[in-house]
Symmetry: C2
Subunit: 447 residues, 2 copies
């Protein structure tokens, strides 16, 4: 009889491993932050004892969701401006608000709220592109989430730098500070092929490669971007990045909406990670990424929520549901993007897209214990015929009960164990009041 720290039991344990094994009346034994064993609850019970046993009847356990593209701190701009053309939204609302408000304190407070929202929706790992990244990393570490934190790189001045060299220096400082952390993976985050020069892109790739950390970028998000990059470099964005040597397993490309067949082949051949941000792309009318064709090409597409200012929540469950439905209609094929594929994209493929596939994304012995326990005993979740279908098409974020990250119970029956929720929410209300006052007139609600 071996001792474990925690044993998690559930009616269904979705391992999301290579065989997509689903264990009914299953259990997961956790020890030292890692998964010690996964199997039938009675067998695990014979082999392990643990002081803490959670879950049981009416529960489902699955790997924590991986959100491969967001701007966490933007939760403070949630709903600041909606139903507007991208240019107006960005140039008249978001950028001015960022210019006015961004600071280490803003990012730190906002990221705590974002982490709370993500954990409550079953997300255990996220990839972030923003500024004041060190504050974001500290806040994430405090909450106890896993994240790939990218230091933003552009060619123009912002509150965190004057030019590309400043941003690259910020990124290198972030890497030196966090490269050996258990939860935080530092990263270089190039904004895009239109906001970063070829030289900046190559310097960024060199920096990320030198330290073996992920490189993030927005890629082919809008038709405008494709036209802009074409006019500047006479190459479409993906081809442009390929010619600069940026496409490889180390790159995570967000959006990838406007792709020619040869660009899909390039992304597949180079094993470039892709983050599909369906709800953001829909809401900003950016377009609909050719996900079924990317999947056919062998690309392991993952899900990104994007920032809460563009797609007003950080909810992978709804990204799965929306994507699995929209791609059926767009392709005219009701078998396109099945519930199982959506779950793979949200878990193991997401981890692989971030080069964390050896560490998280599935429930397998040896991997870090990033586990979600959700409640199935809800009116909207019964009866049960297919557990994948239930999670993808019927489950809501509020059905997530308990979340374990690196073996630590960070959300216990929907209560955060690592920080004071009421304080996090009070700060959000306070910041919101200040921002709303300053930016009044952008909403039709009298303030």
């Amino acid at each position: 009889m071996q001792s474990a720290d925690v044993i998690i039991q559930a009616d269904y344990v979705l391992t999301m491993d290579a065989d997509l094994a689903v264990i009914e009346d299953g259990a997961v034994a956790v020890k030292g932050g890692r998964i010690a064993a996964v199997g039938k609850a009675d067998e695990i019970g014979k082999r392990y004892t643990a002081a803490k046993v959670i879950g049981g009847k009416g529960k489902v356990a699955f790997p924590g969701f991986v959100n491969t593209h967001t701007h966490a701190a933007m939760v403070y701009f949630r709903g600041l401006a909606d139903d507007l053309p991208l240019k107006v939204w960005l140039e008249e609302h978001i950028w001015p608000a960022e210019g006015r408000w961004l600071s280490p304190e803003f990012v730190s407070d906002a990221v705590e709220l974002a982490c709370l929202e993500m954990l409550r929706g079953g997300i255990t790992t996220y990839a972030d592109m923003y500024f004041f990244s060190d504050s974001g990393a500290r806040a994430t570490k405090k909450i106890g989430m896993r994240a790939v934190i990218g230091a933003g790189v552009v060619d123009f001045p912002t509150s965190t730098g004057r030019n590309a060299d400043d941003y690259l220096a910020n990124a290198e400082r972030l890497i030196m500070e966090w490269r050996n952390d258990e939860l935080i993976v530092p990263s270089v985050a190039d904004h895009s092929a239109y906001a970063c020069s070829p030289e900046t892109l190559q310097k960024s790739a060199e920096l990320a490669g030198r330290y073996g950390v992920p490189l993030q970028i927005h890629l082919s998000e809008t038709g405008w971007e494709v036209g802009e990059v074409l006019s500047r470099y006479n190459k479409r964005p993906v081809v442009h990045l390929a010619s600069l040597g940026l496409l490889n397993e180390n790159l995570i490309a967000a959006h990838c909406v406007w792709l020619e067949p040869e660009e899909i082949e390039l992304l597949a051949a180079t094993k470039t990670g892709v983050s599909h941000c369906i709800e953001s792309n829909l809401k900003l009318a950016s377009g609909i990424a050719p996900v079924p064709r990317m999947l056919k090409a062998g690309i392991h597409v993952s899900f990104g929520t994007d920032g809460a200012a563009s797609n007003n929540d950080l909810n992978i469950l709804s990204e799965m549901s929306t994507a699995a439905k929209v791609h059926k209609a767009v392709s005219g094929d009701p078998t396109a993007l099945s519930a199982k594929q959506a779950m793979l994209m949200a878990t193991r493929w997401g981890a692989e897209a971030l080069n964390l596939g050896n560490m998280t994304g599935s429930l397998e012995a040896g991997k870090t214990a990033d586990i979600v326990l959700a409640d199935l005993h809800k009116p909207h979740l019964m009866p049960i015929y297919d557990i994948y279908s239930h999670i993808v098409y019927s489950m809501n974020a509020s059905d997530v009960e308990t979340v374990v990250v690196a073996g630590r119970v960070v959300l216990d029956n929907r209560s955060l164990t690592t920080a004071d929720e009421s304080e996090i929410m009070a700060k959000a209300v306070e910041w919101g009041g200040k921002i709303r006052k300053q930016d009044s007139g952008i909403t039709d609600i009298p303030v």
Copy 2:
């Protein structure tokens, strides 16, 4: 000082009236099942006293959602078969399961679960098309929801009839039984222009017209339907119904996906009610209805969840969010289908589509008190800049706290006051076990 039965207070009261008035720090006084007054909380407090005062800080109140197209009893087939072509799904899974299981008891038990799910998502009124309608009506009345209950009419035999005349007789019995009920509006529900002959359609319209009850129908849901009706009658479905005299304010047409411009004009000119079932249409790859064009034509489009077997929940909040996003991408216009329009479609326009506009759909003195109170103090709902955007893009069904139908608190802090929730869910689990056993093999989860 007048006495009221209940006073509902909230940070925001969305009236959804003609002016779309939003009252901050507002209140609604309810008396005798109707709305006595709507206004600022302090003013209502000066004019009314009530034994029961609910809501307050951090809450939002709005009219109950109107679900204008569903098959409530199909919640028992939720997730029975997904990611399949419509024909396989319907002919190999849904119809056989219906043939095997439908009975008055099945419908009664299933409708109770459906009502519980709908109330928990803020739906106070729904329109139903199914069989054993009297059982559905009784179950809905017991739960205390408002519904337009349609007696299904087709030309082929089922467990409730041999031919159209049988179904029309069922419908007339339903009408005689329920025509004077406060909550239940009986209705005639023709399946479609391909499952009902012109004669059956005209008899149905005559019956509905004679008693002044709504006529429901599935219309232009799939490309196949359009081709079938064209080949039989040499007319597209909407034109076919127009030629039979079916298009008028009394008709509620579900789906309306495949429409030519002249058909949109016909629906607008005749003030025919339209139920947009975006999630079902996406998931079954039926297509995407031209909602922005219908709205431009002046059609008051509403939302329908369709049955939970096709779109695996009964959730108008997610229909709003999905529709508001998808139509932006499809039209390439990020201003298409604004959050405000989505809320109108989900409330007042839905009531108008069902000919209940004088009774429900907005918070106005004299209307019946169908009111939702939701909690805004959640991590995914802060900060707040625009309350419409928050409800449409960020709110989840689980944020709904208390629901009032005809002045009666039927859901109190998410607990059903009119029936035993645990009993309803126990029955669902029991029926599910039987159905899963019988239909095993349709899911890849070992049972």
